[in-house]
Symmetry: C2
Subunit: 362 residues, 2 copies
């Protein structure tokens, strides 16, 4: 075993599971063995990640009957049609109710394989092996799975917890710099919503993170997962504080929908969305302009966009935000900031204030 | 309120819900009001049931914003493509996370609407209003939802509990006699697996049931639901005794798949399948020929098929049964009988004995 491994637990009663963070994890048979009780394993991956890591995961799983299904890469394929390919493979290869799905890839693979595990024969075991920073700090923790619908992102899905998460930081070495930055947007989010010390740490380590310093990355992933795990443990099904994890996401989803899923990376849209949420919070008098600028600066230093695309008309913005899941029969509720490290869900803004934020940002 | 109402509870902790059984229930606003907390309701029905009952349900729901989505009728449409029409309607009509889906129809509608409720925005409220006997005694109780895959029945789905079930026995008056009989197959099943007194009651009331006698139907539905509710409460996710509810279903699913879903009604296939399970139990020496004949006679008196179609080759039988969900990585396990009212899951039969049952039945 190599060093620097960190382990933390997502505490969900009988669904409690561990997250392992460190280098070289995907090559360790013992880690899989500890969490796969079934004889059959189906690896779900995509055509970008599979050439890099599939053979290594297969080698570590040599004790098992292993099948694979390789999906096309990208958010545009996160739909019911692609999802059904997983069932085609499971049934063609005669996997029973006691198989385990291993999600090997980024957030899209984690979402689709996780949702397939939730629904195949009404639920089979799941292991998450996230290979992007975004997936390691966000989508593989907390059990949200699903696919997009033409009319909205993540509209079809399930809450479904994995048996374990293996976040191998070595896999980040093959990640394009733009995707690394996109993952860091979600890292910054944890600082903004509930961990002011972490925000300061990020301001100090932005350069080290972009340079993929092992220790800095492990620290950032662990603190992110720990924050998310605490939120999820307190509110698994998003009736309360879990909604804070959506900071920047209502604006971000509108950006992604307007420019077409996949043209902006999710984390990039969230970055611009968090600045917009900060701006709206400022208009409500909850934070000052200095704080907004401090948030913009950190995201900018992490090579993330801090303004939305100028091409979206105001009517389109309001239309897209109205179908967001956070709308509770008519009233738009957004995650806003009272300070760095202190967020809340609120509808205490006027349409004029929201419009001013959107127009000011464009 | 009209008389003869019966209420029973499915005891599942915080997911406990009531089943109401009786005449005229679909017209009572109070019954809906007690279980719908959201302002928005989407009725999911099909093009056979909607002309009969949709207007009445809408009238009873006049306090709510009510939308509808009418699916094509039949098991052949129980697939992901039809399922997605529910999401199209929900999103086009801007239903949020706090809406309630009302499933108005038979087992197929209950399965698809239930599965849509499980997955729309990762879970919205569900009310089951079953309008067939099969749905009233079986599919609306217990939370199994899902759709078929080309390679197998109910392969994609979720466990998801409704807020309440309204089983209005008046709706059975428009049910074709063949479908009434098909529902009675599942009623007989409860007697066979765990309620020998009920089996005797059914032998005595077969004629009254086929004549749609109100009191007999209410009694049969209540005793069926009570049996199923007890099983489900003890084993919500089918790790143990809930599997007994599958008596006749492995054989039955093979019949349905071989002749094409919808050509045999589900209950008809289960009827023939239960006789096959009894025959295999006899070959194992667990029950005698007299018992097998007694089971055949009751099902025959209920106008149900007691033999499978002769057209299925033995190889096809074994192939179809091998993809059944009850196969745990290679070993076929079936629900068999030790007596009327006493069932168990077993793989204690040889391929020769299984083959003899299939060939003897054809």
């Amino acid at each position: 075993m190599k060093g620097h491994r960190r382990t933390l637990s997502v505490d969900l009663g009988e669904r409690t599971y561990p997250i392992y963070i460190g280098p070289g994890l995907i090559d360790e048979p013992d880690l899989y063995r500890a969490h796969i009780a079934s004889p059959g394993v189906m690896i779900v991956s995509n055509d970008r990640v599979a050439p890099l890591y599939l053979a290594r995961v297969r080698a570590a799983l040599s004790d098992y009957r292993v099948g694979e299904v390789i999906l096309p890469d990208g958010e545009t394929y996160k739909n019911l049609t692609t999802w059904n390919l997983i069932f085609d493979a499971l049934l063609q290869q005669r996997y029973g109710r006691d198989c385990t799905l291993v999600a090997l890839g980024g957030g899209v693979i984690g979402d689709m394989a996780g949702f397939a595990a939730a629904c195949y024969q009404r639920g089979v075991a799941l292991l998450q092996v996230p290979t992007t920073l975004l997936a390691q700090v966000d989508s593989s923790v907390g059990g949200k799975t699903g696919v997009n619908h033409a009319a909205g992102k993540n509209m079809i899905g399930a809450f479904y917890q994995p048996r374990a998460v293996l976040a191998d930081i070595d896999t980040l070495n093959t990640l394009p710099r733009r995707e690394l930055a996109a993952g860091l947007a979600e890292v910054v989010k944890y600082g903004l919503i509930r961990d002011p010390d972490f925000f300061i740490w990020l301001e100090e380590h932005a350069g080290a993170l972009l340079a993929r310093d092992d220790v800095a990355l492990s620290e950032a992933i662990e603190r992110s997962c720990r924050n998310k795990a605490q939120v999820v443990a307190a509110d698994e099904r998003e009736s309360g504080q879990r909604a804070l994890l959506n900071l920047g996401h209502s604006f971000g989803h509108a950006i992604e929908a307007a420019v077409g899923y996949g043209n902006w990376l999710h984390g990039e849209a969230v970055s611009a969305g968090m600045v917009m949420a900060a701006d709206l919070s400022r208009r409500l008098g909850w934070i000052d302009q200095t704080t907004v600028l401090r948030i913009r600066r950190l995201l900018h230093n992490l090579e993330l966009p801090v303004d939305p695309p100028a091409s979206i008309a105001i009517e389109r913005w309001l239309e897209l935000m109205a179908v967001d899941k956070k709308v509770l029969d008519g009233s738009l509720r957004l995650v806003l900031l009272r300070a760095i490290g202190d967020a809340l869900v609120s509808d205490a803004f006027s349409t004029e204030q929201l419009t001013a934020t959107i127009e000011g940002a464009c």
